[in-house]
């Protein structure tokens, strides 16, 4: 017989344990699926951006300089600053209003560059060619992007607000990984595009030695500012903003997917180790017999490894498939927000996850298998016969006999009890964590969309809206009339929205001005408070990150028509890479202009149906109105994330239950003879069920005590990690989701998992005929 033939014969009996094979397969399916998904998200999250950033020498910092205040020599000197590792520029720059075939194409930042290459921000030309004369432009992005049908090669753009509205033909498309400009023309062209009276500005693109955080980027900007004459630096942009825009929502899910993947991984290792060491212990006699008939140690090891190998391989493969299926909605989510990402699980993730899990499994199995291999035949047979003496704990427990016996059982097999404990702890931790994360995400969703406090919004929807066609004052008045006429509204507030400029932030800051009390709109407060007195504003985290300001600071806001100095009263939860600012119309008069009228927030009286109210308002407004009532939309990120959390938690819980089932099954098999004795002495099926359930009850209670605080801590850490990825702060209420009563109730998950896992083998033991059990040796 061949080497492998021997093993096949030797494993014949061992593979009879189908339940263990199923348990093993299921546990590995779960952990491989979450590992695959985790790897896919890691890949989709940062890697394409990181790779593109490195390949294109992305600009850590883009600085806009007032050309009148700094000479070319002064600018050139900044290349030699200590922190600067590379620089491009200066390139002259202009901010222009662009039209495409008569339709507004938006405000664009154009830079004059003679070539796409350079030591920093090495542009990638996607289509066409670089401008080689006047009247030509290369746009940042891909053909078809932008308002309307977008611009294509050959489209002609016109620039407004300048004499002769010079036409620019689109001759190419290029990509700047850090978005240093929206379009590029020849250097000489810029002056003809600059609006009369606008100051001449230039951009410098830098790489720095240290630019990993917002604080480091601000320090870098400060270094350049100090080197130039006062007032020369007009604005600065950071690669971090580009990164957070690029990494999208998939990356935000990464922390919890990784958390679940790690839980699954640890559980898989535990359960696999337990299955194999259980098989070795149960098979001591068998090992002795196999060896006495001539199996070599290596063959014994191979026999035990192959026992786990097949079900494990099947589980890992199924897990890779499941992970790919799970990844579809998640990656689609992330790709939506994101031009760089791919929508598929990279092939290496589909290979690495199952291969890694399988390797880990075999490593976990190797220890006990080697132990079996090293055991001498005589030792093995003796070990199989040796009676196991426990301690007399049962006698001291003043509990009904079967319960006492069951609770004392873990002391006889402490290692196995620890595995039960760990499996239940991880499983219930995953369940409690999932409930917590669900609550946290719901609060974030409600706070992000204001859906709980502002169930109805009046937005521009119908004809009369559209670009360039603002609703008329009469149409606006019709809205307020309709809102006043309808019963059910508790409050409403008119919201104006427009771009403002804040020193230190290159991008436009989106300002929202509320005409009246808006404290009821329920923005989540990360720190500070909602604005009160005129001259106070709230801002989102992106604003603080970009400006380096903190709550309590004052800042000058340029609303284009006026300069106002405001004090930052609080930081609100509005996750976005766009800096945002909120204040009253008194504080921000420049924003509160008719053309900026954006929407109306409506809060309803308790008991009022939002759907009925929306219908009533819409019929009052009529179909001709540009305004329509609707519910605020909740980003489907939250529903996808919540669904994914639920699914992952369910998988982990099932795996934990299977782990418990496995240990209880092994224990009942080991103790089948004792169980027969109990029955012969008159133990009833109900009593036996109680006893076997009590085997796991003790570990389950300990597991619950460990899992509950661990899950709460894990939830807080995960929410903060997600918020960190999204570059937003979070209100404390998002993580305070576990009241003592709720946590106690959720801890029951441990008992449910343990009892559900123990029940099948327990009822098998309870049903078994005593005569048959006594014969089993």
């Amino acid at each position: 017989m061949t080497w492998f033939g021997v093993i096949r014969t030797a494993t014949g009996g061992m593979l009879r344990h189908k339940v263990q094979a199923v348990v093993l397969g299921m546990v590995l399916l779960t952990s491989t699926a979450s590992a695959t998904l985790g790897l896919a998200l890691l890949a989709a999250g940062d890697t394409p951006f990181t790779r593109a950033f490195a390949a294109q020498h992305g600009a850590d910092v883009t600085i806009t300089v007032n050309a009148a205040r700094a000479s070319s020599a002064e600018l050139a000197a900044t290349r030699a600053l200590g922190g600067v590792t590379a620089a491009s520029g200066p390139f002259s720059e202009a901010t222009v209003q662009v039209q495409l075939t008569g339709q507004p194409f938006g405000q664009r930042v154009l830079a004059g560059r003679s070539s796409p290459g350079g030591p920093v921000d090495d542009l990638v030309l996607n289509a066409g060619h670089w401008p080689n004369g006047p009247g030509q432009i290369v746009l940042n992005g891909r053909p078809g992007a932008g308002p309307g049908n977008g611009a294509r090669l050959g489209s002609v753009l016109t620039v407004g607000g300048v004499p002769r509205t010079p036409p620019l033909e689109v001759v190419g498309f290029a990509n700047s990984i850090t978005g240093t400009a929206d379009g590029w023309v020849t250097p000489g062209e810029i002056t003809t595009l600059r609006a009369a009276g606008a100051p001449a500005s230039e951009q410098m693109l830098y790489s720095f030695a240290r630019a990993g955080s917002y604080a480091q980027v601000r320090a870098d900007v400060a270094e350049v500012s100090r080197a130039l004459p006062a007032g020369a630096v007009a604005g600065a942009g950071s690669w971090l903003a580009a990164e957070s825009e690029a990494s999208g929502n998939g990356a935000i899910m990464e922390p919890f997917v990784v958390a679940f993947a790690l839980i699954g991984l640890v559980m898989a290792v535990l359960i696999v180790g337990n299955v194999v060491s259980g098989a070795v212990i149960a098979g001591y006699r068998r090992i002795g017999v196999l060896k006495s008939i001539g199996l070599t140690p290596a063959q014994v090891v191979a026999a035990y490894l192959s026992r786990v190998g097949w079900p494990a391989a099947a589980g890992c493969l199924a897990g890779a498939v499941a992970g790919n299926l799970l990844a579809i909605p998640v990656l689609r989510q992330s790709a939506g927000a994101y031009g760089v990402g791919s929508q598929q699980v990279p092939w290496w993730a589909s290979v690495a996850a199952p291969a890694g899990m399988l390797t880990l499994t075999l490593l976990a199995a190797l220890g006990p298998a080697l132990r079996a291999g090293r055991l001498s035949a005589v030792q093995a047979i003796a070990a199989g016969r040796a009676p196991r003496t426990g301690r007399g704990y049962a006698a001291r427990l003043r509990l009904p006999r079967p319960a006492g016996l069951g609770l004392a059982a873990p002391f006889a097999r402490p290692a196995r009890a620890m595995v039960t404990l760990a499996a239940v702890a991880f499983g219930s931790c995953a369940v409690i964590f999932a409930f917590g994360l669900h609550s946290s995400l719901s609060r974030a969703a409600a706070s992000d969309s204001l859906s709980a406090t502002v169930p109805v919004q009046i937005q521009q929807s119908g004809p009369g809206g559209g670009p360039g066609q603002a609703p008329t004052a009469a149409q606006d008045a019709a809205v307020t009339a309709a809102l006043r006429a309808q019963p059910g509204a508790l409050h409403y507030v008119t919201v104006y929205s427009g771009g403002v400029k804040v020193p230190g932030i290159t991008q436009d800051v989106l300002a929202q001005a509320f005409a009246g009390d808006a404290s009821w709109t329920g923005y989540g407060i990360v720190s500070g408070r909602w604005y009160g007195a005129p001259g106070e504003v709230d801002v989102n985290t992106a604003f603080l990150n970009a400006s380096g300001l903190a709550v309590g600071d004052t800042v000058t806001v340029n609303t284009r028509t006026a300069q106002v100095t405001v004090r930052i009263a609080g930081e609100v939860f509005q996750p976005s890479s766009e800096p945002q600012l909120y204040g009253s119309t008194q504080t921000l008069p420049g924003v509160a202009r008719g053309k900026n009228l954006d929407h109306y927030d409506v809060g309803l009286r308790p008991g009022t149906s939002a759907a009925a109210y929306i219908q009533a308002v819409n019929s009052a407004l009529g179909t001709r109105s540009p305004w329509g009532a609707t519910t605020p939309d909740i980003s489907n990120f939250y529903s996808i994330a919540t669904g994914l959390v639920g699914l992952l938690a369910l998988m982990v819980a099932v795996a934990a239950g299977l782990g418990v089932l496995n240990t209880v099954l092994m224990t009942t098999r080991d103790r089948v003879h004792d169980l027969g004795i109990f029955k012969a002495l008159g133990m009833r099926p109900g009593q036996m069920l109680t006893m076997v359930a009590c085997w796991v009850a003790g570990p389950a209670v300990v597991a619950a005590a460990v899992a509950a605080p661990a899950a709460a801590a894990l939830n807080t850490a995960t929410v903060h990690a997600m918020a960190g990825t999204a570059h937003t702060g979070v209100p404390a209420s998002f993580t305070q989701v576990f009241g003592p009563a709720r946590l106690a109730l959720l801890s029951l998950a441990a008992l449910v998992i343990a009892v559900a896992g123990a029940f099948p083998p327990a009822s098998w033991a309870a049903r078994a005929r005593p005569a048959a059990a006594l014969r089993a040796e």
Binding site: P387, A394, A395, R401, I677, L681, L774
Partner: protein
């Protein structure tokens, strides 16, 4: 012999009628059409070659298994129709069982082993404690009360098993080769113990390979060959 037993007499502790047991449906029965009865206070030895069905018979009487056909009446109740829970209750109250390999629970002390059937039947530790101590004393092993069975000799272990079988004062004591794993001197000891018990009125069914043991202690011997009753001979009265 104390009195002549009549089939189905109300004083009978055991009454089997046409009992058949087949482990595989359609296969050859391990026990075929066996009828017998045992009166209260009797000692009956069951003898026969290996594999003839002795243990099967004992298991059916103990309610550890159910017959394929026939009726089993023990201590005044039909047990072949009882469910698992009722059978367990029956075993706890009415029968004590002694095995060849003792079947003590290794992770319980001697005293806990003896107490267990009483507690399973619903007695408290305190109630059962006095009875357990009395039995351990009677078996001469009270000094080993707090030890684990693994530390005891074979004879001592079997005494523990007997004490455990008696803790609920069962009407019937069943012993399946109780001396099969013991040396000659110990066999004598255990034999004497069993006789003392019978002298005090304990009904006893004893499966044994040892003709001397059967002859010396049993009033009656039942022979089984290939699952059938061969011959019921009167033993030598003790």
């Amino acid at each position: 012999m104390r009195h002549q037993s009549v089939p189905g007499a109300p004083s009978d502790v055991i009454w089997l009628d046409g009992v058949t047991k087949a482990y595989q449906a359609g296969g050859p029965p391990a026990l075929a059409d066996v009828s017998m009865n045992v009166a209260a206070g009797e000692v009956v030895a069951v003898m026969g070659p290996s594999g003839s069905g002795k243990s099967t018979l004992l298991n059916l009487i103990a309610g550890l298994d159910r017959p394929t056909a026939g009726t089993v009446t023990v201590a005044g109740r039909r047990i072949d129709t009882l469910g698992e829970a009722a059978l367990a209750r029956f075993r706890a109250r009415h029968v004590g069982i002694i095995f060849q390999f003792f079947n003590l629970l290794d992770d319980l002390t001697v005293e806990d082993n003896v107490l267990l059937p009483a507690q399973l039947a619903g007695a408290s530790r305190r109630q059962a404690g006095a009875r357990a101590r009395e039995l351990l004393e009677r078996m001469g092993i009270e000094q080993h009360r707090d030890e684990y069975p693994a530390r005891l000799s074979g004879g001592q272990r079997q005494r523990v098993a007997i004490a455990r079988a008696l803790v609920n004062s069962p009407e019937l004591l069943l012993a399946d080769e109780p001396t099969g794993a013991l040396d000659t001197a110990t066999v004598q000891e255990i034999g004497r113990l069993l006789r003392e018990l019978n002298a005090a009125g304990q009904t006893l069914v004893l499966v044994t390979h040892d003709p001397a043991l059967a002859q010396r202690y049993a009033a009656r011997t039942v022979r089984i060959v290939d699952g059938r009753m061969a011959l019921a001979g009167a033993g030598v009265p003790a």
